[in-house]
Amino acid sequence: MIRFSHVTKRYPARGDALRDVSFALAPGEMAFLTGHSGAGKSTVLKLIGLLERATRGQILVNRRDLGRLASRRIPYHRREVGMIFQDHRLLADRTVYDNVALPLVAAGLGPKEIGRRARAALDQVGLLRYEAARPVALSSGEQQRVGIARAIVGRPPLLLADEPTGNLDPDLSREIMDLFVRFNRVGVTLLIATHDIGLIRALRYRTLGLSEGRLVKDTARA
């Protein structure tokens, strides 16, 4: 599903964010990406979501070489990658339903299909009853679940989550992780950037450790 081969990402102002990173994630696999702040976790996710381009090396996602992907094809690539953020990235002036439906509207689906899929995604995260509410009326955990519903509504084969439990208490964090485990069980590939060691230990999935831009740990190799 994902293959990093000697990937380096250099920012002109701050130097190397990633240095010669190589790893592979098989389809249907779930893994944690760990490391301290600035270790390069978010950079890995940005490169996979094509929010950034690698300076050196090769990244394959679904056998597609992201380095060779034309800029006009990027939106279509992003539709196959669901992204979840710590700060949810929801539109405050739209309803929960509108936020979740946004990727489907952008993909040009018909109103009936949008309605069916958006409500199914909200049902999956247990928020169907809040479809007409504004995100600001929801708790932080519920807002995160809206973000997850938006990420899965397009049925992407790959989900990327950047510190999805960063602002949540342990119980809510566990709830969110349970959702991810459920998605993984139906074949969705997940890469979750987190520094919540407690969750990582409790779930016992593969862990990729980054430090100062280098891959220093891969439990699959251990």
């Binding site: 940005k46 979501g49 929010l51 006009r72 939106p75 279509y76 690539h77 992003r78 539709r79 992204m83 990235r89 929801l90 539109l91 946004l102 990727p103 952008a106 993909a107 040009g108 018909g110 938006r150 397009g154």
Partner: protein
């Protein structure tokens, strides 16, 4: 296999999906403008005035041109005979002139007719009544034939008439009509220059309005990029907003010009009546109306396109 079938079906649906998107975006953009009526009205009012100025100038010059055409048709050579020349001299000269190729018609104005006409228009009744005798000479009003339409022939013929012993003075009415026409052409050219300058201003106004709109919706644009919206998809509502601004500005401009014409019609009719004529003002013809509306819409769309192309590039999803 399922995926392949789904992709094929969606390919066939593309034109319908595209049209639905266009209609949805056009209506959504209009709805968004109408939800903020005051700022929308302010922008539309500025655009309307900017479009009304060249539109109004066009209508004015069209009317003045029509007026000049009427004058040109009536333009004549007036041959003022010497005070000694009598009615017989006037008739003989008129007969001679009617045989000339340069002449279409000759009309004799007697001193009595001239005095009566002068009295009617000048309002100097008392002064004229105090004159011991009529000081006005016989006048031959000559309508030139098409042979004498060009300025050189008319000049030559005019000089020939002036050299006749019975002639005191030859006045050529077409001269000032031509000067007037030249001024009208200058004003028309100025209207074109003004239209070009105002079109540029319109592009800037719409561009700036759309730039502000992009700034207000920066976060939304970022999120749309994150979830896989294409640039065309993101750009579309802004382009339609520009289109609506321009079209509504065009509608307002047409209303302003028509209202101006309606206000002017009554005083113009009064002036025309004083000259014992009728002058119905020429309004906005259908092609001009369509040009103002489509021109406004096109300029709005273009201004928006320029702003969107420039400012969307600067927005990155993260």
């Amino acid at each position: 296999m399922t995926g392949r079938r789904r992709r094929t079906a969606r390919f066939h649906e593309l034109p319908r999906v595209w049209l639905r998107h266009q209609a949805q975006n056009a209506l959504a953009a209009l709805g968004r403008l109408l939800r903020t009526p005051l700022p929308t009205f302010m922008t539309v009012a500025v655009l309307g005035v900017a479009l009304a100025l060249p539109g109004g100038l066009y209508v004015i010059t069209a009317n003045v041109e029509a007026l000049a055409l009427g004058w040109e048709r009536n333009a004549a050579l007036s041959v003022f005979m010497t005070p000694e020349a009598g009615e017989t001299d006037a008739r003989l000269l008129a007969q001679r002139l009617r045989r000339r190729a340069e002449v279409a018609a000759v009309h004799i104005i007697t001193p009595q007719e001239a005095l009566a006409e002068f009295r009617a228009y000048s309002g100097f009744d008392d002064v004229l009544a105090g004159l011991p005798e009529n000081p006005l000479p016989f006048v031959l009003s000559i309508a030139p034939s098409p042979v004498a339409e060009d300025a050189a022939t008319l000049e030559r013929f005019s000089a020939e008439l002036e050299a006749l012993p019975e002639t005191d003075l030859v006045r050529h009415d077409a001269h000032w009509v031509r000067r007037f026409e030249a001024i009208v052409h200058l004003v028309q050219r100025l209207a074109v220059v003004l239209a070009a300058v105002l079109a540029l201003a319109l592009l800037l106004i719409v561009g700036n309005t759309i730039r502000l709109e992009i700034e207000n919706r920066r976060e939304e644009i970022r999120i749309m990029e994150l979830v896989g919206a294409t640039h065309a998809f993101i750009r579309r509502p802004f382009l339609y907003a520009g289109f609506w601004y321009g079209l509504l500005g065009g509608v307002l401009a047409c209303i302003l010009v028509i209202a101006g014409l309606l206000l002017l019609q009554a005083p113009v009719s009064r002036i025309a009546a004083l000259y014992q004529t009728r002058f119905p003002l020429i309004g906005l013809s259908l092609p001009v109306l369509v040009a103002m509306l489509s021109g406004g819409a096109l300029l709005g769309y273009l201004g928006s396109w320029l702003a969107v192309t420039r400012h969307l590039r600067a927005i990155r999803p993260i």
